[in-house]
Symmetry: C2
Subunit: 403 residues, 2 copies
């Protein structure tokens, strides 16, 4: 792992207040989020201490916690643990805050459980282990979720999907649990891809403990994140609260296996409520582990059957993603016309290059350059990035960690 970015020592009062508020109120509490949006975290923290939260239910929860917890000390402790761990706190004040999470401001679950509905607002802050900037990791990301008690079939499908998507530079997001979650993370890791585990407890805690080594591997190349401060326990309701982040942060959610009314179908319901592509892998009707998947397909018109990587890309990808993977690309270079081949040669080995620069390097006019870039992209030789184009990884993924 690179030099830990750690916890910023100049952490300002606002960031600190966000942590303290997360200690005092369960993440996602809409009443708290609205107050913070209006008054800022510092003032809301003081309101919390003074019993001035207008929403009665939120106020009472906060007061109950205040009787047991010293929020100042809990926040300081959480930060100390994070620092030791080389983890960092990311807040909406940071550049790396994923804007996709603000979709949660409008999330209302039709027919949802009232208690859960109250816990659907965006996180106040997120704790992060791993070097990738949070927003960048989520930029091209797909959630793959499903049953803990998955079958061999489900794990096989989840691993393959994650592997194939990771090869195409998609980040695989899941919850780090047994079964489908772990199969998805592992598929991405096997492809040398980026994967993010979104936990429902403190990031210092490997939960489940059996996945401790997997989380360490994820942190080496990807991220382990949580909106709960270090020290938070994986209480059952937290998994449902956490699921909204998985659904909101990603471009779409794939449900691989689920028993009837399982937690994974709740993640799908959130993706549907957010208007994100909600994809379902069907299975044998004789399998209890596919009942939840088939229920989703029957209940929600907006769900879509997906059976493989191509179907997922059809939902979340752009034209470039529908190109075949650049396997054996070296051989098909022969088929390029001279201009395209020359342009490809002109690419720097690493990083993103602007169209003007490429045009100059290849001595082609900009129009021809754009046309040939489009061809190269379609054939899988290059990929479009913000600011220009980059060579497609010829095998697996070889992203460099950011400084």
């Amino acid at each position: 792992m690179a030099e830990p970015t750690g916890l910023r020592t100049d952490l300002d009062e606002r960031r600190w207040a966000r942590v303290a508020l997360t200690v005092l109120a369960e993440p996602g509490t809409r009443a708290i989020h609205r107050l913070v949006a209006r008054h800022g975290p510092v003032r809301v923290y003081r309101m919390a201490l003074d019993g001035e939260i207008p929403d009665e239910s939120a106020r009472e929860s906060v007061e109950a916690r205040l009787r047991k917890i010293d929020p100042r000390r809990a926040a300081d402790d959480a930060m100390a643990v994070a620092e030791r761990l080389g983890a960092r706190l990311v807040t909406p004040e940071d550049d790396e805050w994923p804007l996709s999470l603000s979709a949660l401001e409008r999330l209302a679950l039709p027919g949802g459980n009232r208690r859960v509905d109250r816990e659907t607002a965006p996180p106040l802050c997120v704790w992060v282990r791993g070097d990738w900037p949070l927003a960048e990791a989520f930029e091209r990301s797909v959630a793959i979720v499903g049953a803990r008690a998955a079958t061999q079939y489900g794990e096989h499908v989840a691993t393959n999907l994650a592997h194939g998507l990771a090869l195409r530079e998609w980040t695989i997001v899941s919850g780090g649990a047994f079964g489908i979650d772990a199969a998805a993370h592992r598929g991405a890791l096997a492809a040398g891809g980026l994967t993010v585990a979104v936990l429902a407890c403190g990031i210092e805690r490997a939960y489940p403990a059996a996945h401790s080594a997997m989380f360490d591997r994820i942190v080496e190349t990807g991220l382990v994140i949580s909106e709960w401060p270090p020290g938070a326990e994986p209480y059952r309701p937290r998994f449902l609260i956490r699921n909204r982040v998985i659904a909101a942060a990603t471009r779409g959610t794939v449900l691989v296996e689920a028993s009837a009314r399982s937690g994974a179908t709740q993640t799908m319901r959130r993706a549907i409520a957010l208007g994100r592509p909600a994809m379902v892998v069907p299975g044998p009707v004789t399998s209890a582990m596919s009942v939840g998947c088939h229920e989703m397909l029957r209940e929600y018109e907006s769900t879509r059957v997906v059976t493989g990587v191509a179907h997922v890309l059809e939902e979340v990808g752009t034209i470039g993603d529908l190109a075949p993977v650049a396997r054996g690309a070296e051989r098909s270079r022969d088929q390029l016309d001279d201009q395209a081949a020359f342009l490809l040669e002109a690419f720097p080995r690493r990083g993103v290059t602007g169209v003007d620069e490429l045009s100059a390097r290849a001595a082609l006019d900009v129009r021809t350059t754009l046309r040939k870039l489009s061809l190269l992209e379609t054939l899988g030789f290059v990929v479009r990035r913000s600011g220009g184009y980059a060579l497609a990884p010829s095998k697996g993924r070889s992203r460099e960690a950011p400084p």
Copy 2:
């Protein structure tokens, strides 16, 4: 088998002309059907002999056949074979003609193959082996179709579905082929239910030959039918032409397994074009035999995932069908209130009884009678029929053959 109803000896000229036209033009030819609707079969038969069919393509096909076949003799031969077989000819002039088939008059397949499109009109006549009146057999019917090269999973699901639906007095319609078709027919037979095999060749011909015994069993309690005259061979294109009858005659079609672009998906496309419930059983995404099923679910919004009998009944059934099967009904009689129990006792053993009569027999006012009937229906003790109510069969099916 009961006394064969045989071929009516007073078969009038119109019926004879329909047979001769079926010999001269492939069933479903829209141009011929339109002419028959306008001018009647006798006149169109003469037009065919005189080369006066206005539609060029239909006229040329007819002329090609006239050069090889003597239609008079072929029709007579077909009728003689049918008579020996104890089969009968059913035409739109007969009471037992299924009116559901007239939906084919409006069938147009979007994006369909032009040749097949021409062959989508209703049959001119249908040959029938078996005693049940044709229209009655199709009244409460579901088509279960799928791959010939089915997997064990697919056959298991098809058998179970057919068995469960047959227990609930639904007729199972399929094509008599290997794989899913045979599994569906056998599931219905095992439940003592009614099943109809719709062939794509003459009904005297067991095709496939290995199903000869199964067809004989079907004829004992159900029907084997075809729109092709005895003697007709099972040419490949005929299966597609036949499929429209399976889709049109039934209340809905269930696709159990299908490889990509298989014939069974064509039956589904016809059901969809007819606006009939189009139901799909999903399967493992790793199975080539479910690819066609998942394709249908992805391509057509009107398709619905079904995983069992209850889901199928939700699509095709009425309120009464959603009641649990009357298994173990004898025991649960204890749970009935006095009035309901008395009303149940008052039912005649056989046949349909009107509400007034039941009210009189049970000495209950009509309003109470209706309320208790509704309860008894929900609990599966009685079934609603046109004209009143009847006792639900306590085990399997015990329909009497019509005289």
